[in-house]
């Protein structure tokens, strides 16, 4: 695999990651959303391996395997089990204003390109152009958390943000030092444990996972 080919392949994977991010933004069905998230993780993992191969930085292989294990297998599996146990796999979320959300998403992508322009000029890495995609993925995850009202969907948005951050680290610097990446992975696992508990608490207390019901704590007038 030549260097140029690797760069091309990486750009293609970046495009796929962005595509899944957009698809997640408007996917109403739980399982389909989860599958999209798993696909995004898979593209991320392949992309990390490709960059690791092209840049000859072997610790990226470890990151790649870590991503595969956590983001493609473990987290989707946990969420799958949770969705089944909470009996919400048939739920179809109502999403208002799909076109507006998409347009805001596009604006966020443009904004990300604008924001990362100084980095593209300075960087000499082959991945420099994908950093904007990474930031866009972070922002789209954030947008998903804002627009969606279901607790599980918000968590998937949060995890998609983490995907974006991980991709940013690979794009900007060929990955963070290993100790940091392992620590981040550990934090994500603890977070997964916590939101798993949370889903049950919310479900038993509010009889649904719709976060709109949580509106007790407000400033009184």
């Amino acid at each position: 695999m030549s260097y140029a080919f690797a760069a091309q392949l990486n750009s293609l994977l970046a495009a796929l990651i962005l595509l899944t991010a957009f698809a997640m933004l408007v996917q109403r069905r739980m399982y389909a959303l989860l599958h999209l998230f798993a696909w995004q993780g898979l593209f991320l993992s392949i992309s990390t391996a490709v960059v690791g191969f092209a840049a000859q930085s072997h610790h990226l292989y470890i990151s790649s395997v870590l991503t595969l294990a956590i983001k493609v297998i473990l987290l989707p599996y946990i969420l799958h089990v949770l969705i089944r146990k909470l009996k919400i796999h048939r739920e179809v979320e109502t999403i208002v204003n799909v076109p507006t959300t998409m347009l805001i998403g596009i604006a966020l992508v443009i904004f990300s390109y604008h924001l990362t322009a100084p980095i593209r000029e300075l960087s000499t890495l082959m991945t420099k152009s994908t950093l904007a995609v990474a930031l866009a993925t972070v922002m789209l995850g954030l947008l998903m958390m804002i627009t969606r009202r279901h607790a599980v969907t918000q968590i998937i948005g949060f995890l998609a943000m983490e995907n974006g951050l991980f991709f940013a680290a690979t794009s900007a610097t060929y990955g963070m030092p290993l100790v940091v990446e392992l620590g981040v992975a550990l934090d994500i696992l603890i977070a997964a444990f916590i939101f798993g508990i949370f889903f049950f608490h919310i479900n038993t207390t509010f009889d649904s996972l719709d976060v709109d019901q949580m509106a007790r704590l407000k400033e009184e007038d």
Partner: protein
């Protein structure tokens, strides 16, 4: 060596408490663990005081005047909070608010939280700093929802989501920082070490660091509780158990601010401008104003003091942003005295709300007659927190205000307005609670004297006479943060 002990004690205590569970002596083990941590903290501080800054564990840990004083403060407040929580949590358990498993969980997570904060302070690696900060959040999320009431779950969910998003942005900032550092220091773990970064900060690319700082500011700023990303804070403080409110307010906010200030030093060194400082000043002053006016509208006692914490973190952030020796000295002092005073206030608030079985301020009355320690403790605590002399908060706020009038006179009226409104609001709300007759629904309870008295005594002591070692520490820290 001492450093490892300091970090290992809370970790071991956490594991031990997870096994001990709800045995009768669990709170005592909790106190013992925190006390041991405090002793280790003092030992470390003495070592640093005599021998200067030190690197340890293959440069993985770094201790200087700035973080060692926060480490001592953290271990001290966690010790007094453990003392306070002994009776408090036992009573909650008698009332049937929480059961066996949750007591086990509470103790284990409390110690894990202390560990995460100490790791945050002592690590030299900016990436590990981020990880420890996230760990500190995660360990407290389920403590906030400990009572499992709908409001508590809502508060914890908000805390989890908002801080999760915030801290994710801080990670992006850290990635950018690493990107800039890698150009100068080469790839690998070395490039994220703060000591290395601070040596070469003038060679780091200014545009990248400015951009990184925006992300770090919003990210860590969420954890500091700065307006407009503060929404999680009043909820988490009011719905969690009171010992947790005390450590969240007194310690966690400080730690997040510590992370921010460490990053600011790097950004300042790189850009050579006051760009980062200005951002911090803006966030700070906005927090002071918004929090002070929000105070006026509160009905829940813990929520009110949560807003007061936002206000004080605003003042501190503003002062760090302003820079200069006087303001920085004031900010460091303010972190210390606010932490001591606010946790003391939360202790008395915890007692008061247990005496009345409510957090509604309209139903809390006659505290001085009902229980002098709680009543007077709250009165003096509030006097201290609004900045009345001779308490330590007066000193720090005075220093900050003087520096503001000198360096940023346009900001001074806003700062004064915030302080004035807070003064009025807190007194108006607290005075009816402490005075008056004892209402029939008030119950007399045995309270933990030591934590409140110890904290208030220290705040008073620092206000009247600052010991030389403390002044030395602050002066050294000011020198580091230039």
């Amino acid at each position: 060596m001492i450093l490892l002990v300091l970090l290992c004690v809370p970790l071991v205590a956490s594991l031990a408490l997870a096994f001990i569970g709800d045995r009768k002596f669990a709170p005592e083990v909790n106190i013992l663990g925190s006390a041991a941590t405090f002793v280790a903290g003092i030992a470390l501080a003495l070592e640093v005081y005599h021998h200067g800054p030190m690197l340890a564990g293959d440069k993985f840990f770094f201790v200087d005047a700035f973080n060692v004083y926060l480490a001592v403060l953290t271990s001290f407040v966690s010790m007094t909070t453990a003392l306070f929580s002994r009776r408090y949590m036992r009573r909650e358990r008698e009332h049937g608010t929480i059961g066996h498993r949750r007591i086990r969980f509470y103790h284990a997570m409390f110690q894990l939280f202390i560990f995460a904060m100490l790791l945050c302070l002592l690590t030299n690696n900016v990436g590990v700093l981020w990880i420890a900060m996230e760990l500190a959040t995660l360990s407290t999320v389920l403590l906030v929802s400990l009572y499992r009431t709908p409001s508590a779950i809502e508060a914890a969910w908000k805390y989890f989501i908002l801080c999760g998003v915030g801290i994710a942005l801080a990670l992006f900032g850290t990635v950018l920082l690493y990107f800039a550092a890698e150009k100068v220091l080469g790839a690998g773990g070395e490039a994220l070490l703060w000591t290395n970064l601070s040596q070469v900060s003038d060679q780091l690319e200014p545009t990248i660091l400015s951009l990184a700082f925006v992300f770090l500011m919003v990210g860590y700023g969420t954890k500091v509780g700065l307006v407009p990303v503060h929404n999680w804070l009043p909820d988490a403080h009011s719905e969690g158990p009171t010992p947790i409110s005390a450590v969240l307010s007194g310690l966690l906010l400080n730690i997040a601010l510590y992370a921010l200030v460490r990053c600011k030093v790097l950004v300042d060194g790189s850009t050579g401008t006051h760009h980062a400082g200005n951002i911090m000043m803006g966030f700070g002053i906005l927090s002071v104003i918004v929090a002070s006016f929000s105070l006026l509208r509160q009905k829940d006692i813990k929520r009110m003091f949560a807003y007061s914490s936002i206000e004080h973190m605003g003042i501190t952030t503003f002062a760090f942003g302003l820079g200069g020796p006087v303001a920085t000295f004031g900010a460091l002092l303010h972190m210390l005295v606010h932490s001591l005073t606010k946790s003391a206030i939360f202790f008395t608030v915890g007692h008061a709300s247990q005496m009345h079985r409510t957090q509604d301020m309209d139903r809390i009355q006659g505290l001085i007659r009902g229980n002098p320690l709680v009543g007077w403790g709250m009165t003096f605590g509030v006097m201290a927190i609004v900045g009345m002399p001779p308490f330590g908060v007066f000193m720090s706020e005075f220093l900050i205000l003087t520096a503001t009038i000198k360096d940023a006179p346009l900001m001074a009226p806003f700062l004064l307005l915030g302080l004035g409104v807070t003064f009025a609001a807190l007194f108006r709300k607290v005075q009816p609670m402490v005075t008056g007759e004892v209402p029939p629904h008030q119950k007399f309870l045995k309270v933990a004297h030591v934590p409140v008295l110890l904290h208030m005594f220290l705040v008073l002591g620092i206000g009247i006479y600052m010991p030389k070692f403390l002044a030395d520490w602050f002066h050294t820290a000011v020198g580091l943060l230039k």
